[in-house]
Amino acid sequence: MNALTPLDIFDPSSYPTRRDEEWKYSDLSRLLREAPERFAPVELDWDALPPQQADGNAVIVNGGFSQTPKILANLADRAHLTYISWGYPKAILGHQGEGHVRIEAGRKVCIFEVYDFGIAPEVHRECTYVGNTALHFYLEEGAHLIRIVILNEPAAAISIRRSTVETSPNSVFKQYVFSTGAKFQRFETHVRHAGHGAEVVLDGAYLLKDKRHFDMTTRVTHAEINGTTSQTIRGLVKDQATAVFQGRILVERGADGTDARMRHQALILNDGAHIRAKPELEIYADDVQCAHGNTIGALDEESLFFCQARGMDEATARGLLTHAFVLPVADGIEDEEIRGKVLEFLEGAGENFHAV
């Protein structure tokens, strides 16, 4: 089943440690030694005053996370949700929330989620918060859900964003995640092919610098026949940053006709940055096509030379090549406006990535 490991940020005894295989490379208990203080609930009456605009935008602050389904129900099929987490220097405040979203049969929904911070840029560095959120999606027959997520959180934040997805026959779930990491950031997605012929895409890109940590964990279970899963994760790390990719594809007995492909490609730009990858296949059916690939390497010196030979200075050439490395992930986004916003984010992230 799509069960997430129980985790209550206000109960330190529930924090996973390195000894939990699923959290082997992301040791929460080491970073978070004690429970954060609870955010004072945001005094807003969501029923009376849904903070939404006619164009499908909603801004959700801290504890309002669990209101997500209600807000989504009120929004158009194309929703832009901005989750703002307030952080304060020195004080560690936490919030957590969970929400269940059902996409009705045949409906096509596109959700654009942005996880952002609500503090002036000059105080970002010291600002911290602990966010632990979970969204559960149920796709009815033939439903489409396109989910685009931007994780733009401050360097000191501890953020755990988890979701589960359950498909029905012939439904489509496509997810694109873009991250710049945080002190500790985990994006975890569990997908269960509970209906035959479902199509799942789980793409993502990350750009990590300084001491940021990003953990992309996915668990895909094929429980029904003829499901397809395609996953491409691309990323860059430099300085002392850590990128973790844990992907698992499980094909249950009888899930014949499964076609599952997983690919993780990463570049390490300097010694001392870390990449931990664990792409797993667990197969109990024989009429399947499953493959995974994982590559880790340095920026191609020949390409760099090629660019420089054409008059580019080294910094520009590096910027161009690294940008070109993560860009293809955004190409899969069909919605032009959202793709534009993602490209804008990637460009900003790219510039910031190379800034000293």
């Binding site: 007995r253 390490i268 010694d271 001392g272 792409p279 797993e280 197969i283 024989d286 590559t295 880790i296």
Partner: protein, 488 residues
């Protein structure tokens, strides 16, 4: 193709486990169970130096505090460590000088297994036929080592580890436990405490060992565990190729085999280690069979050293085995070629670790898993590069083949990189036997079993090529036999 023909012939023989017989000879056992006295008993039995006993006792103390690992994807009834014999040796006259003094039943056993224990048997063969020096380990002790004298002319030491402890204690002390420390893991600690025999090889600087060395392990007695310890040292510029084979009788209860193999390669040395593991796999229902919990590790200590592991794993009820390379020396090379075939109720969790510490170290992993019946076959591997391992390079390919609807194949690779100048590539695929190819082969007159054997041998060909020739033929037959009854 002769090899194909041979495969087909072997399949036609329809024998499932031809090594399942028991040899009836007089044995000497230590009392059942495990405690410090048993450890002392084993050490005394072997006239070991004091430091060895101390090392054993320290390992035993450590083992008592450890827990049996449970992270592997295998399910089995836990071993009752107090219900085993830790020492079982054929009763024999003190130190047989020649083969004639060895119990003829043992000789017959090896004859039946096709292992040449008489040097003349090998020499009497076709002119120019390659020679094999054999160390034969029967339950807890080494019964004979052949070609010792000829090897001595080259300065190569090849003997049982008990003999090495008596004759070359300084060499053993220098290297034993330096690759696999006693506290490395649960089974390694157990082995360090109670190991009874195994092989020792030392190849001096610049010597290319003139013949293939090989050890043949045989478990015979009931309720015994086999704990062998192998130590191979290739000094600067030396080369050695070592083969290992294993069989056991067909019994209803599970038997434990917990070995430790340590390889040390100094500057420019090259060690090739091949295993054909054919322990009794248990019956189709999963009754009986060997638990194969083995720790194998190579330390490429010197610059430009190379270690190559090749394994063909067809036997054992449960396999837990990860032959690894620590690539410490600059420009050192580690290779791992593996075929793991599981059928019936067998479970295998096997793979490798390539730890890149030195500069420009290279490693290559080719793993082919074939699962049939209700078996489960897992590749588990780690490739890691330390921040100083600039220029490290790894290529990994893991392919799994599924035959039938009730088997399982898993791939669990761990890749950890801390350096910008390393290049790691990993590829894995899982598919079933192609219906088209099967149809094609059968249309040309092959029976279904022959066609499967042919296709599977094609699938594992890349690894078979790495084995010494005689072993390759043997392994090819073994793969075909192991898959018998898996289709239709």
């Amino acid at each position: 193709m002769a090899a194909v023909k041979e495969t087909i012939e072997t399949v036609a023989k329809l024998e499932t486990y031809e090594h399942g017989f028991v040899t009836d000879i007089e044995m000497e056992f230590a009392p059942k169970g495990l405690n410090a006295d048993i450890v002392r008993f084993i050490s005394a039995k072997k006239n070991e130096p004091e430091w060895m006993l101390e090392m054993r006792l320290a390992a035993f103390e450590r083992w008592l505090t450890m827990e049996e690992p449970d992270w592997a994807k295998v399910n089995y009834t836990r071993v009752n460590y107090q219900d085993l014999y830790y020492y079982a040796a054929p009763k024999k006259k003190v130190g047989p000088k020649s083969l004639d003094e060895i119990d003829p039943e043992i000789l017959k056993t090896y004859e039946k297994l096709g292992i040449p224990l008489r040097e003349q048997m090998v020499l009497a063969g076709v002119e120019g036929a390659p020679k094999y020096a054999v160390d034969a380990v029967f339950d807890s002790v080494s019964v004979v080592t052949t070609f010792k004298d000829e090897l001595k002319k080259y300065g190569v030491i090849f003997c049982s580890i008990s003999e090495a402890l008596r004759e070359h204690p300084e060499l053993v002390r220098q290297y034993l436990g330096t690759v696999v420390p006693v506290s490395d893991n649960y089974f390694a600690a157990l082995n360090a405490a109670v190991f009874s025999d195994g092989s020792f090889v030392y190849v001096p600087p610049g010597v290319r060992c003139p013949m293939e060395l090989s050890t043949y392990f045989r478990i015979n007695a009931e309720n015994t565990g086999q704990f062998e310890r192998t130590l191979i040292i290739a000094d600067k510029g030396a080369y050695v190729s070592y083969l290992e084979g294993c069989t056991a009788p067909q019994r209803d209860e599970n038997q434990l085999h917990a070995a430790v193999v340590e390889l040390v390669a100094l500057d420019d040395a090259n060690i090739k280690y091949s295993t054909v593991q054919n322990w009794y796999p248990g019956d189709a229902e999963g009754k009986g069979g060997i638990y194969n919990f083995v720790t194998k590790r190579a330390d490429c200590r010197g610059a430009r050293s190379k270690v190559s592991w090749t394994q063909v794993e067809t036997g054992s009820a449960v396999t837990w085995k990860y032959p690894s390379c620590i690539l410490r020396g600059d420009d050192s090379v580690g290779e791992f070629y593996s075929i793991a075939v599981t059928n019936g109720a067998q479970q295998a969790d096997t793979g490798t670790k390539m730890i890149h510490l030195g500069k420009n170290t290279r490693s290559r992993i080719i793993s082919k898993g074939v699962s049939a019946g209700r078996s489960s076959n897992t590749y588990r591997g780690l490739v890691s590069a330390h921040a100083k391992a600039t220029g490290a390079r790894n290529f990994t390919q893991c392919d799994s083949l599924l035959i039938g609807k009730t088997c399982a194949a898993h791939t669990v690779p761990y890749v950890e990189s801390d350096t910008a100048k390393a290049q790691f590539e990993h590829e894995a695929t899982t598919t079933r036997l192609s219906e088209d190819q099967l149809f094609y082969a059968m249309q040309r007159g092959l029976s279904q079993e022959e066609a499967v054997a042919l296709l599977v041998n094609g699938f594992v060909r890349e690894v078979l090529q790495e084995l010494p020739m005689e072993f390759a033929v043997e392994a090819q037959k073994l793969v075909a036999i192991s898959l018998e009854g898996s289709v239709g």
